[in-house]
């Protein structure tokens, strides 16, 4: 008996799955591909899709009032027949007017199908675990759509399969159960949010979904990173299925508010990640999770969760949700994708406020005094800050700053001080590595002094004399490409505007008068200790050269090719020579010492950086290996 009851809702599960398959693979996907294949694009495409939206909106709004077709299962069968017919028409070569008509038919049939299905879903899905069954139906629908064989099929195959599913649905819808109350109403139903708020939340979700979908579809790099390839599609299908079941669990255990908020979290994350194609892989994980989470709620809410005194009232609510949230939300999302090409952060934040509003409202109700006092303080502080900035001129416009000043501000903004010092301690090994030392007065002249208190990277007090502009820029963009296994984050994003160039300019300005001369003197006076030279081995040198020097000197190094235009002078081929700074005719011992000097301190005025932090034995090992290359023999 128990087994029988648990199977009783298979018709409902199947109908939900069929509806989703038809909508996703044909109406949203296959039909568009078909239109593209017959040359309908631009404004014509907008007209055709507008007809679909108009049909969908009208049918959704009036579906609950339609009594033609008799009982609910007859209306559903009629709608499924309309869907199948439209898919059949799509197999033909249509002109613009015919496409508009077919598109209108798809929209209106879908409108009637969805509203009728959710209004009477209790009669197909039964009273046992209805939310789980809705989740199952939705999950199966998405899983089927993500089958590579169907997803990558021709528009013709997709139309045929969709039509076949509709025909199957006509048979399944033939029998209805007696409507009985659901046995697993959600635990938080008592605190159900208002219908208008839910409508707004669904609209925002569909809006985000459609915008993200459009952007992915029309950006090859994103499309490649999200839903191209068999494995990708199976993973997406699996994620959809899991999220759909998770949504059913969430709806039952945590209620609609939490489910929609979680769905929004994933979708918003995906939308923000899509702004960078490099993060498309992560977005491809977030997107299906968010979509399936809300898709289940989109069926479950009007069917089981929305308070409704009569079936007609349930139908009207369903119609409103699908007309406004479904069709209008979708059109707005596509419009955003078309016109902006991205989803603005402000829009995502605004939507976040909408989803958080029930909690914020409850917080305000319970903490009125705290909320009002905090709001008052926020306002007071805002006023005080405006007045203070007027009087002190704290906020000069960026246009009035020099590039170096802007770079100084960027250094502060990025928190560089947390890993880099700008203070060479006098009479310490700092002087040799990062020197020369400046007076305290000179250091305090900068406002604020950026002395720092921790070195997880080199001291930068004199970096302008130690590194070239090219090196600095390359290092900011990809630190590990120029500095062996550097764990500094990439600051490539600073170069999307002028912050990167400003930071480089600021770095270059970090130098003191006589700094270069000091460095030359220190380099000339320095040599690896005899113990270091004795311990050094050219085999170690080869390895170290590969790690520290091959970024630029590798004969066929890709890095060097990428920077070729930027080099003041191309790094020499050390194997072939000739070497400008180490004459071949010089004494071998002097040459070895000179190579060590260059490795340790670089060549001031060129792009050759020093490796100040390398111990003498490692410098000596590299020097020994370099000296043994053909160019030196």
């Amino acid at each position: 008996m128990k087994i029988e009851r648990s199977w009783e809702g298979w018709r409902g599960v199947s109908l939900v799955a069929i509806t989703y398959v038809y909508f996703l693979i044909f109406a949203q996907f296959g039909f568009l591909k078909h239109l593209a294949s017959i040359g309908i694009e631009g404004n014509s495409l907008k007209t055709v899709m507008g007809a679909m939206a108009a049909g969908g909106i009208l049918a959704s709004l009036f579906a609950s009032r339609i009594s033609a077709g008799g009982s609910a299962h007859r209306r559903l069968q009629t709608a499924l027949s309309g869907c199948a017919l439209a898919a059949g028409f799509a197999l033909l070569r249509l002109d613009l007017v015919e496409s508009v008509a077919v598109s209108f038919l798809i929209g209106s049939a879908l409108g009637v199908l969805t509203v009728t299905l959710v209004t009477h879903l209790r009669s197909w899905i039964g009273g046992t675990r209805p939310l789980l069954k809705v989740g199952l139906g939705t999950g199966i629908g998405y899983l089927v759509c993500n089958c590579p064989q169907l997803f990558d099929a021709s528009p013709r195959t997709q139309a045929l399969v969709s039509a076949a599913f509709c025909v199957l649905g006509i048979g399944i819808a033939n029998r209805m159960l007696a409507e009985i109350p659901a046995t697993d109403p959600p635990s938080r139903q008592a605190a159900a949010p208002s219908f208008l708020l839910v409508l707004a939340c669904f609209t925002a979700l569909v809006w985000l979904d459609s915008a993200a979908f459009f952007i992915i579809q029309n950006t090859p790099a994103l499309k490649k990173g999200t839903w191209e390839g068999t494995i990708h599609l199976w993973v997406n299908g699996g994620l959809h299925f899991t999220a759909a079941l998770g949504s059913a669990w969430l709806l039952r255990r945590r209620g609609l508010e939490v489910t929609l908020a979680v769905a929004f979290g994933f979708l918003a994350g995906a939308c923000l990640l899509l702004s960078d194609p490099a993060r498309a892989a992560l977005a491809s994980g977030f997107y299906p999770l968010g979509v399936s989470l809300y898709s289940v709620a989109l069926v479950a809410y009007p069917s089981f969760l929305a308070p409704a005194a009569t079936v007609a009232q349930r139908g009207r609510k369903a119609g409103l949700i699908y007309a406004v949230a479904g069709w209008v939300g979708s059109a707005l999302g596509i419009g955003m994708g078309q016109n902006l090409g991205h989803i603005p952060l402000a829009f995502v934040l605004g939507a976040a406020a909408l989803f958080l509003s029930p909690w914020l409202w409850r917080f305000f109700k319970h903490r009125k005094r705290e909320s009002l006092v905090t709001a008052a303080l926020l306002a007071i502080a805002f006023g005080v800050q405006r007045v203070a900035s007027l009087y002190t001129g704290m906020h000069r416009q960026p246009a009035t700053r020099t590039l170096v000043e802007f770079g100084h501000q960027t250094y502060i903004s990025e928190g560089c001080i947390n890993c880099h010092s700008q203070y060479v301690r006098p009479n310490s090994p700092d002087v040799i590595m990062w020197g020369p030392a400046e007076s305290v007065d000179a250091v305090l002249h900068e406002q604020p002094p950026l002395i720092g208190n921790r070195r997880q990277g080199p001291d930068l007090a004199e970096v302008g004399d130690r590194r070239s502009l090219l090196w600095l820029k390359a290092h900011f963009i990809n630190p590990a490409a120029v500095s062996h296994s550097s764990f500094m984050p990439s600051y490539a994003y600073l170069f999307r505007d002028n912050r990167g160039d400003a930071l480089v300019a600021y770095m270059e300005s970090l130098r003191s008068a006589g700094g270069r001369e000091h460095r030359i003197q220190v380099a000339e006076a320095w040599s690896p200790s005899p113990e270091a030279v004795e311990m050094a081995h050219h085999i170690d040198g080869a390895l170290l050269f590969h790690e520290y020097c091959a970024t630029c000197h590798q004969a066929d190094g890709a890095t060097r090719v990428a920077w070729q235009k930027g080099f003041r002078r191309l790094p020499p081929n050390l194997a072939a020579g000739p070497l400008l700074y180490v004459p071949i005719s010089a004494d071998p011992a002097w040459r070895l010492k000179r190579i060590s000097e260059i490795i340790k301190f670089g060549l001031p005025g060129t792009d050759m950086p020093g490796h100040e932090y390398l111990p003498g034995v490692q410098v000596a090992a590299i020097a020994e290996w370099v000296a043994g290359l053909a160019g030196h023999r």
Partner: protein
Amino acid sequence: MNPKGLARENLQDTLHGEWPGVFVTAAWHSLAWLAAANLVGVLLATLLLFPGLNNWLGEWTYGRWMPVHINLQLYGWCSLPLAALLMKVYQVDLEPVARWSRAAFWAWSAALTVGSLSWLTGHSSGKLFLDWTGYARVFFPTAIALLWLLLAWSLRCHWTDKENSPRLVRMIKTTGLALLFLVPLVLYWSADPRVYPPVNPATGGPTGASQLESTLAIVAILLMLPFAISHRKPASSRWRSIAGTAFAVEVLLCIALGRGNNSHHRPAQFLSLGSVLLWVPLIPAYYRSFEWPANSRRWQLGWLCWWVLLVPTGWCLFLPGLLDHFKYTDGLVGHALMAMAGFVTSLLIFLLVVLLGEDGKIFAARWAFIMWHGSTLGYIAIMFLSGWIEGYNPMFAMVPGAGRNVIYSARLVLGALMTVASLSWLLRASRLVRAQPASVRPEASMDLPAARDLASAKAL
């Protein structure tokens, strides 16, 4: 409703108290910021070990999270219990001001949230520990000013109370209030990029005089704290006198040192800083001259042990040679951790336990105590080891290697354990905020037997 609940409700009505009260709210906000700061710390440790993860964070990279981690510890966890202490001193836990106290904590937390967003979006003054800039630089002092207003209002309301009747008490409280008025102004001023403290020319760090000043500020808090939350043992006034005299002498010494840019190589600097060693035995002896509740003993022992470890190591690390070796390395970060995670955290929990009374049981879990202290000790040991190596070989910190990665892994694990402990305290505090207290007692200064009598009477 059960009799306890009824009794409690009646009590609340009578005393106009609201749940959660001042100290429970303070504990919850403090712990929330401790947990948040620790979670950010775990993120930072993860980024050190897996720097590629920075690419997933967009512009919110390691450097922008660092001020969030440090400032949430400093202005959230370390400051809010002290705000609760001030509320105790100025009787803000009594009506009619008590009901506004929660607003002060929420405003403070709102200011920290605004600050965190400001640092994450790249707004900083560039001054370590004083990163406030722009709107956040105004909002946070405004939130502190609200606390000051509550203190002033409460002093006015309770001016004629028995507790404030001695002239000396009124004078001290009024003077204190006048000094506290300066706090938001000083905070705003000190965040100005044009203002900078004296610099030790040999290291670029603070001078001995600055270190002595800040140590004496801590000592001053330690000396005043028992008067606010405890009772004196009549027979032990000798240690209080000795401590008072020693403090006065040290203040004079500090004034005599001046505020120049002096090197730690100057004997006057490191020898005068050495005077703080006096407090190593004096503070434990001083605290023995006061009465303490039984449930605070574990935490008292904890912070006293850290104190005994902190002061001598702090002085040693300022000595010529040692400071030169450890400056800019993990060694000094380890000492800062000893101060903040070891000493200050134990002290603040001790303070909260005393203020919360029976509800101080939220800190009673032995496993969390051991986990916090064990992890902190392990973390410090690792940082000193790392600093010791770095002092000889700066490359150790800058270029990856197996040794460095093992240290970063250990830091991540230990940081995660500390976070677990802090989350467990926050969880218990959250339960306390949501549920009713075990004892039928308002947090107002009414003593327990009296509250019980009143509750019974009302219940009947």
